[in-house]
Amino acid sequence: MTQSELFIQLLINGVTLGSYLALIALGYTMVYGIIELINFAHGDVYMLGFMISLTFLGFLGVRGTLGGWQLWVVIFGVMLVTMLCTGLINMTIDRIAYKPLRRAPRLAPLITAVGMSFMLENLGMIWKGPSQILYPDIFPAFDIPNGLFGLNTMVLFTTKDVFLMGVTIPLMVVLTLFIRRTKMGKAMRATAQDREAAALMGINVENVIRTTFFIGGALAGAAGMMVGLYLNTGRYLMGFDAGLLAFTSAVLGGIGNVTGAMLGGYVIGFLNAISDQYLSPEWTRAIVFTTLILVLVFKPSGLLGERTPEKS
């Protein structure tokens, strides 16, 4: 591989990793924006998205690569059901674990979130076992540069990469439109800025919180399925790893800021790719977190975050 090929490969890897990290990071940042809670269980909802979609594919008896209309119907059908399930799961988590603590000191729901995370991880382990799981390779991987353009290159860029971006990026666009344009989006932004004032404008704050958890969960579920289709493997602890990186992305971009979470996701994605390529994968974690520390030292509110005065 030449240097330039290496660099292009790095860009591709960065974008694919960044795309699904951004999708998970959105859930962290939205929930934080509304109720100032770091939902540590969020990464595990992503893991459940992987497992739930795997189960549905099992019901359908899908094993190998699909083609034609079957491919799209199966993928989008299963994705829709998975998103619905993880959205409802996330909403239920809020209902049973966080809602009773809405007026408690902030540390209480935080610890509860950590506990919830362990519970979901153990649930995943009991459900699908502790070892690495195979995910059916249903999306055909067609080598685009060599196969389509006839370039003779070592760069690996397949239809799978295109598919991953083609799903995650539109989801983010829809979310952004939802927040900017709709009545509920406006209610969410208002609630994030001042919960009490929002309630006095006739906004049902609990309803806004529920919706936020639902959307966050649905996006995480979609990310879980996408990763399954892309990497074709996963295990019960995958939510912990991805969750940590996605949480870092959200903080890096400015937690509470939706655009920041997406930006943070891509920054972390690229950092990962650069470090994996030029240093060594063992150093990747260290590089990512050192960057996070540096950003927070020089701009504590994150890349796009605003300095918010302590709420009274």
């Binding site: 309630a199 006095l200 919706t211 605003e306």
Partner: protein
């Protein structure tokens, strides 16, 4: 007709009684004031009416319906709007968006409709924007629709808060110190605006205010609280002459001119000025 009625309403915070056995009646179409020294329980009363606090005991009736303990959003939909002592706008939204948030609760479109945007929803959105613009113009913010709320000058932020509250289509508007921090000219303008809200829009107004010139100038009925209890009630003239009110504000003995804090003498001056103005 009584629009708002408080019957023996109380609020305790642990051992502290913020409001005790308060009876209050606000008639439809009046401008009423709630005054009293700091910590008298005025804002606590507002918080109970607007649903932020649940009364410990007593009944709160709005249009003869119990609203005590209702959630704030339900209270707003019943028709009670409010502003805050320390301005609480959605600072990172534009003035127009702030008002649109207030209009939200009166729109019909569900979230699916808002995302798919069929013509009916689009029409409603256009109407909402026009209405928001109209409200901004009404309070004197016509040209500032696209300014972020946090970038507006202080006096205009107060006006925007009123426009946002108006957007929820209230029958009763609670104003918590609407002229706090304003210069004399801004205060006069704010008083004129409050009067217009009642005269032109027919909104009943209940306000908390420390500026005696404002209180005496626009209220038709004044209720005085001290330590959470009502100590006097009546027209401005009745209240001004009430020895209990003077005592609550200035302390015993001050009436005879013995001693007064700096604030107290300033207050006396204001009252005197308002008195001679009539």
């Amino acid at each position: 007709m009584a629009l708002l009625q408080a019957q023996k309403i109380s609020k305790h915070f642990g051992g502290l009684t913020a409001v005790s056995d308060l009876d209050l009646m606000i008639e439809q179409g009046m401008i009423a004031s709630l005054i009293g020294p700091n910590g008298a329980g005025k804002t606590t009363f507002f918080n109970m009416v607007s649903g932020l606090y649940k009364p410990t005991s007593g009944r709160l009736l709005f249009e003869d319906k119990e609203i005590g303990g209702l959630r704030p959003n339900r209270v707003t939909i019943q028709g009670i709007g409010r502003t805050f002592q320390n301005i609480r706008l959605f600072a990172n939204m534009t003035a127009l968006e702030n008002v649109l948030v207030g209009l939200n609760c009166r729109l019909k479109a569900g979230w699916a409709g808002a995302l798919l945007r069929p013509p009916t929803v689009r029409e409603e959105e256009v109407k909402a924007r026009a209405r928001a613009q109209e409200l901004l113009t009404y309070v004197g913010l016509g040209g500032q629709g696209e300014t972020l709320a946090k970038n507006l000058p202080y006096g205009l932020q107060r006006r925007l808060e009123i426009a946002r509250a108006l957007a929820t289509d209230p029958k009763l508007l609670l104003l918590d110190e609407p002229t706090a921090g304003m210069n004399p000219q801004e205060t006069v303008d704010a008083m004129a605006l409050i009067k217009r809200l009642r005269d032109e829009l027919g909104i009943t107004i209940l306000l908390i205010e420390h500026d005696m010139k404002v209180v005496m100038g626009i209220s038709e009925r004044i209720t005085v609280l001290d330590y959470g209890a009502k100590i006097a009630e009546g027209t401005p003239d009745q209240v001004r002459a009430d020895p209990k009110v003077i005592e609550a504000y200035l302390g015993k003995g001050v009436v005879t001119g013995l001693k007064g804090t700096k604030n107290a003498s300033a207050l006396l001056g204001k009252q005197a000025a308002a008195g001679t103005g009539r």
